[in-house]
């Protein structure tokens, strides 16, 4: 009976086209979500390999196999790919597309064609980003932040990379737009705002950031292009411009972009914990509203990236103050997750392990964020590898682990098959060990004064760098294990039931994998999403 579920699912039945074309022209949110997933995982591997190359170069002081210029290009492209192609679209475009409409009881998003269109814009941006590596005078070497005035002068392919970021931003905007309208308009009858599951809530807050922050970086990057083409002088101090203004505009987007990454990650964790603790989520409203609060306050804290850039003293303390405020709703979420588990009957399955790893990493990432957010300590560690460790703890340890958690949580729903639990647990452990070994030493050498983005260093930092490089290889091993496990299971895994984890949200009430239309009858919602008895 269950195998027939796969036969009748969105996998087998598409639109009027068959095979690959049926996927490429599909406006089904699940197919688009999966296409995003395959694309994003591919780019993650490219970015990961670039990261591995950097780590290998850094294993020993001195030049090993990368020249300084190549190293600059590698960290720039690593950043551009990981930020714009992987973590920003990551959870929203993949799992948001796959499950948000189902979780609110809809058959699709509000604008399915626009959804497909934004996928193609994403691919266009990806192609541009890849092209920037190979054409012209070499890969961009400005860092993913494109700081002026160097980015206005560097002879490398800055324009291509900048346009890639611009195009990708457009894709992000359209996804956000689509999600906001979908959540406003297509919730199932009876599903009031406060009966909506918390993953859609986090996507709603995220979508607003995507919508309202991305245009700012769009215009900034366009100005940068114009500046390079016409010597306009917006940001070049030789022509009267102000490079700090570029940083302002850049971070007005790029700091909220951090929340575009982490908010859906928090949403995923909020789904996973009640399912495996079999308890009603603690403080539903607090979690829902804290997503909105993070989005709102998070928009206004961009300056904490610029404490040493030469801002006025007033601006510095204002930004520091706001930064501390934004920590409050984040902490609320952590407290609520832990309270949800308290006295729960916890079943230890792979998604839960990943979720635990997320909370642990996110705590470290968040608390080191406060060290960076307070003025005095920031001056000491600004632009050191402490910062590198901090944001990798948030982006990778947070968003990355949440992505893995989501993948393992919804895998049976996506494919209708189950993976090997033992192997999944082991890969979680190995990835966690690899991750910690890779990034924790960077905190220490950062405090000791190791600057970021340097391809060479003093011998005193060697121990830290060497341990870190070993961690990178352990991490790689862990990913290999996950990859083997999931790819094999997607094809040959055991057929699973529609609700293997005993979840209560709507996606678990329909067959695995879902049918094209998700629901035969749109459900009528009468109670909250996490009413475990």
């Amino acid at each position: 009976m269950e195998y027939s579920a796969i036969e009748n699912s969105y996998f087998k039945i598409g639109n009027k086209h068959k095979g690959l074309l049926g996927w490429l022209t599909s406006t089904d949110h699940k197919r688009i979500g999966l296409m995003y997933m395959y694309a994003i995982i591919s780019f993650f591997f490219i970015g990961g390999i670039l990261g591995g190359v950097m780590r290998t170069e850094l294993a020993r002081p001195g030049q090993d196999f990368l020249s300084a210029q190549t190293y600059n290009a590698v960290f720039t492209v690593h950043g551009v790919i990981m930020i714009f192609l992987v973590v920003i679209p990551g959870l929203a475009a993949v799992f948001g597309n796959l499950f948000m409409p189902i979780m609110i009881g809809a058959r699709d998003v509000s604008f399915p064609k626009l959804n497909l269109f934004s996928f193609y814009i994403y691919m266009l941006g990806a192609v541009l980003a890849v092209i920037s590596l190979f054409i012209g005078k070499g890969a961009p070497d400005t860092g993913w932040t494109f700081y002026a005035p160097y980015s206005t002068q560097s002879g490398t392919n800055v324009i291509a990379a900048v346009l890639a970021a611009f195009v990708l931003g457009f894709s992000s905007i359209l996804t956000g737009l689509n999600f906001i309208v979908t959540i406003h308009r297509l919730r199932a009858p009876g599903m009031t705002w406060f009966k909506m599951p918390l993953f859609p809530w986090s996507l709603y807050a995220t979508a607003w950031i995507q919508l309202l922050a991305t245009p700012i970086v769009g215009i900034t990057l366009l100005m940068l292009v114009a500046e390079r083409l016409f010597k306009i002088g917006f940001f070049d101090p030789n022509l009267g411009g102000d490079p700090i203004l570029f940083q302002h505009l850049f971070w007005i987007y790029s700091h909220p972009a951090v929340y575009v990454m982490i908010l859906p990650a928090m949403g995923v964790i909020t789904e996973i914990i009640p399912t495996f603790a079999k308890r009603k989520v603690y403080g539903y409203k607090a979690i829902a509203l804290s997503s909105v609060a993070i989005a709102a306050v998070g928009y206004l804290v961009w300056g904490h990236h610029m404490y040493t850039a030469g801002m006025s003293g007033t601006a510095r303390w204002v930004f520091s103050f706001l930064t501390f405020i934004v920590a409050v709703p984040s902490a609320i979420k952590v407290f609520n997750w832990i309270s949800t588990m308290y006295k729960g009957s916890i079943s230890l399955e792979p998604p839960f392990y990943f979720a635990m790893a997320f909370i642990f990493n996110f705590m470290i990432g968040g608390l080191t964020g406060l060290i960076l957010g307070s003025l005095a300590t920031n001056i000491h560690v600004h632009d050191t590898s402490f910062v590198v460790a901090h944001f990798h703890y948030i982006v990778f340890g947070g968003m990355g682990f949440a992505f893995l958690a989501a993948l393992h949580y919804w895998f049976p729903k996506i494919y209708g098959r189950m993976y090997n639990h033992k192997m999944a647990n082991w890969s979680c452990v190995i990835i966690f060990i690899g991750f910690t070994t890779l990034y924790f030493p960077l905190f220490i050498i950062g405090l000791q004064g190791m600057p970021r983005r340097y391809f060479d260093y003093l011998p005193q930092f060697q121990t830290g760098h060497f341990i870190s490089t070993i961690g990178a290889f352990i991490l790689g091993l862990g990913f290999l294990l996950i990859f083997i496990n999931l790819v094999r299971s997607a094809k040959k895994g055991k057929i699973t039931t529609s609700n293997p984890w005993g979840g209560l949200t709507l996606e678990w009430q329909i067959p695995s994998p879902p049918t094209v239309e998700n629901f035969e009858e749109i459900p009528v919602i009468t109670e909250g999403p996490y009413e475990y008895k």
């Binding site: 700090i244 928009y299 206004l300 300056g303 801002m311 601006a315």
Partner: protein, 94 residues
């Protein structure tokens, strides 16, 4: 279908709105001949804001449309204003 709620605005209303907008345009050109020192830009921006509010309210139907649109629009303008204020915490105190 809740596609209803369609208020039909008179031609006359629109014409009056245009007259008012043209009046404010003339006003803003007129006051630009005088020098209010530091207040010059404030005056220009206040007049522009009035015009924008009129366009939003009548031409863009916010007055007759759903509350949620009004809330969203106000939120966006508030946000833009906040970003300006916070940016100028830097530039005014350097």
């Amino acid at each position: 279908m809740s596609n209803g709620k369609h208020h039909i605005t008179d031609y006359k209303t629109y014409a009056w709105v245009l007259v008012i907008l043209l009046f404010f345009t003339a006003l803003t050109v007129f006051v630009s001949w005088f020098d209010f020192k530091a207040l010059t830009i404030a005056v220009a921006l206040i007049i522009a804001s009035i015009k924008v509010t009129i366009v939003l309210t009548y031409f863009m139907h916010l007055k007759y449309d759903y509350l949620v649109f009004r809330l969203m629009v106000s939120m966006v303008f508030l946000l833009i204003a906040l970003v300006f204020v916070i940016t100028f915490f830097d530039y005014l105190f350097r």
